[in-house]
Amino acid sequence: MSGYRLPRGGAHVERDRPFSFRFDGEQMHGLAGDTLASALLASGRVLVGRSFKYHRPRGVMSAGPEEANALVEMRAGARHEPNTRATMAELYEGLEAASQNRWPSLAFDMMAVNDRLSPLFSAGFYYKTFMGTGQATWHFCERFIRKAAGLGRGTHLADPDRYEKRNAFCDVLVVGAGPAGLMAARAAAASGLRVVLADENARPGGRLHEDGASLDGRTAADWIAHELHELERHGVRIMPRTTVYGYFDGNVLGAVERVADHKPLPEPHEPRQRHWTIHARRVVLATGAIERPLVFSGNDAPGVMLASAGLAHAQRHGVAVGRSVVVFANNDGGARTALALDRLGVSIKAVVDIRREIPTALAAELGARGIRLETGAVVAATRGRKALSGVDIRGFDPASGALGANIMQPSCDALLVAGGWTPSVHLASQAGSAPVYDEQLQSFVPGSPREAWTACGAAAGMLDLAACLKGGRDAGLAAAAACGAGEGSLPPLPVLEGAAGAEHPFPVFDVPATGGAKRFVDFQHDVTADDIELSNREGFRSVEHLKRYTTLGMAADQGKTSNVNAIALMARARGLSAPQVGTTRFRMPYTAVAIGALAGRETGHHFAPTRRTPMHDWHLAHGAEMMPAGIWMRPRAYFRDGETLRDAYVREATMVREGVGLVDVSTLGKIDVQGPDAAEFLNRLYANGFAKLPVGKARYGVMLREDGIMFDDGTAWRLAEHRFLVTTTTANAGPVLAHMEHYLEVVWPELRVHVTSVTDRFAAMAIAGHAARKVLQAALAEGDVSNEACPHMGIAQGRIGTHRVMIARLSFSGELAYEVFCDWPAGLAVWEALLEAGLPERIAPYGLEALGTLRIEKGHITGAEMDGRTTLADVGLGGMASQRKPYIGSAMTSRPAFVDPARPVMVGLVSTDGAPIRAGSHLTARGGGASLGHVTAVTWSPALKAHIALAFLSGGRGRHGEALEAAFPLKDERVAVTVTDPCFYDPDGSRMHV
């Protein structure tokens, strides 16, 4: 037992509202207003976690967002969340938490052997041990390393909670509701501006809760409540539990509001967290400062804690962090904390200060309260492994850095360390301002702004309360003025009594190692002072190299407590000053952000809209298995009783070849192209000619990219002199429209053309097979699709039932076929009318698989062949390209690589051993060898009674008849194939010209 609940005090806790919770299965008790950390401390718990690399026992080290040690797994089942900071987790009834990174238990962790083997695990040990010895070693060891790495375990269950995303717009965003932030918000709000005040803690007030000052005769708690009331009266949006984690371009900031993390479960209809995108004209950064640890042997023992945290746990939660407390400092904060704790009833054994002298008033007060003070002294070592049991206090010469004589070796169960304050410059750094060094603070403060922000308070290096309050007000006024606000009423500064002064550190924060013990700098990633010296010796001296070689500051806490000490140590090793070493740039997020908060509602089937054609429900009702095709859902095949996929598509494809079938092609991209220059525009867009396409005819066309590679194919129907209907592939409907808009607006603005997407204006279906004309004509109440009225590539108008239809005689299957377009809402009626008219011909619908079979048999291309690498000539359509006109890509098509005879070109393959060919297979000579090409599309062909494929084969046109192999090494498959022409079926096209 170590920490305990003080008999009184604790401004945040409600002593009459006890909560019970479980930690590692053990039932414990806390109070409403506790954090998990304060409740654990109050229960006497010291050991809370194991460290990342060495699995050393660790306890709570802080009382805020900087916590590096007390990371726990919270909640159970699907709500399980690892790496939660116990210092930020608010206690609720029934909270369940578990320690992490230990096996089999926290008290006895097998992996602690790493600590004994630590010479192996020095900086860069992965590289030296596993990678330096060759690839094979790394490949062998990787799975063990991956298993050992990391802290908490995640869950694989779906997150049952809901997250929201919202935007907020304001004139002034104040980040941090400490004394500076509160004053800034008051000053900005006084001029009538829209002000948002966000704070990551549950309660606004920041360090005011610990400062001990009275403001305008009120206690800190009363003054904060009064200020919040005033802010609300001025319409300020106050957002507690809201962490502003990122500062993005254009004064856009990201924040996460923890709406329900402090409750057992979110209320019904309440999100767990809410992500805010805040658009602010001006930002006031009042993000405060974080206390630094001191560097000495055994400074990570459970029970060693930041002095500010020891005070915060006592002031806020009424918790003494130990029964016998030693304080170790290099600034006035040590003595002040000791005095404050003593007044709160915490037993202080000694104050150890590196400095030879401390202010006489402080020394006198310590003396008056009977607290032992050792100046010019340090804590040279700690005792106790799983819990602090004592410290060794020795003399110290700050000039030489040498340890002196033993002074005392008291037993104690808590050691509070105060090494100075590090302004939280994260957001300013994210916004592109390199922090600048402040000699007095021995730390960095925000540099000159590149975005529209002002820093104030401790974040700007103002460490005493009076300066924070005034600095906050000034920043708020400046932000208001920058927003063009007139003079508001100036909020008066509160009259202070008993405020602590600035705590500027003595420029020594580290103590030589004793007894070979480790001196930690980065607690979360287990980086020691020796690692930093090693990094320097091995030449990784730049702060960027230091970070990557030692992984310092790269843990989840981003080095909040370690970066400044590390930079100072590297500076000393190199004989430079800290500003010469400099800092790395902070990246968002300031603290970890749940992916769920970033995703918001856009998860599962809400991730993207599900697009269905008007015949969707009909497809489902008739046995269709739907599959995603681009952004749409399309039928793959219509299954009849007992059919396999192959049974179904073979039946459907055979039906089209031997009778008639109907396929839903509503998902084709459709673009209405209108204007006096429409024909000229399409003539430039397509590789083949369109200028002379007669009205009432359609034409197949291929568009290239500017580099001469195929972009998309489709048809264009000339509906009138100045009007075309262009179809695109399903996948490229959007890109083709953007492509057209680009040329019309940027490249050829003189063309008088307007383009409009009409994809979901028209439902579309294709009726294919030798009975297609008969069936279609039977369905038409009005219109003529005879060969004379509607020849191949002809367009006809008509009516089916009451619905207008537009018909084009086009064939993708190679059979006599018509595409029938109608109004989108009429799609189902027209579809059903065609099926009914086709009953005598035993018409049936067919899906994507059969569509694929039919087109592969014909050697027609799709996106699988237009893969961004192929030209018209590659797929055998070189003859289509116009020689008489320029078009997009025309000048680039004759480049040497495009006319290389060894270039892979499209061929057909027939499996000669009866085995199916796998898409993605590579072509080799029989018996193996280098890849000669690859397979793009495969099917069983009912027409050929063979497994066939389309493929790209180097020099393929001269290799028809050759015997090759289609190899798929991942499955250890080799299929004997013969190369053929890519058009397997009806090469002269006689079947569609009937």
């Binding site: 254009g250 940027v746 320029p886 680039m892």
Partner: protein
């Protein structure tokens, strides 16, 4: 990042799609040689500082915009219509979005 679309007003960058270098001029339609097109397709400056680039307001008015952006700071220094509406805000009003 926000772009002040001349047609729609200031909008979040998620509504726009990047359209590449806005300083390029496509060779004349009648050009038959590959070289000028090769430069148009492949040669790109990588400027440090202000850069003119194209953005397509794909989830808005669908106009193509010529945006001057500082590549160091992402500051948007200017936005205008590309092509036929360039510098002609009055006509945009009449054309609608």
């Amino acid at each position: 990042m926000r772009i002040d679309c001349p047609c729609c007003g200031p909008r979040g960058v998620a509504e726009f799609s990047y359209g590449g270098d806005g300083t390029l001029r496509r060779p004349d339609l009648a050009t038959r040689e590959a070289e000028p097109f090769s430069a148009y397709v492949y040669d790109r400056e990588n400027p440090r500082g202000p850069h003119v680039e194209l953005w397509h307001h794909i989830a808005g008015c669908r106009h193509w915009l010529r945006v001057t952006r500082n590549t160091l700071t992402h500051e948007i220094l200017g936005v205008e219509m590309a092509g036929r509406f360039a510098g002609d805000a009055a006509r945009i009003e009449g054309q609608g979005a």
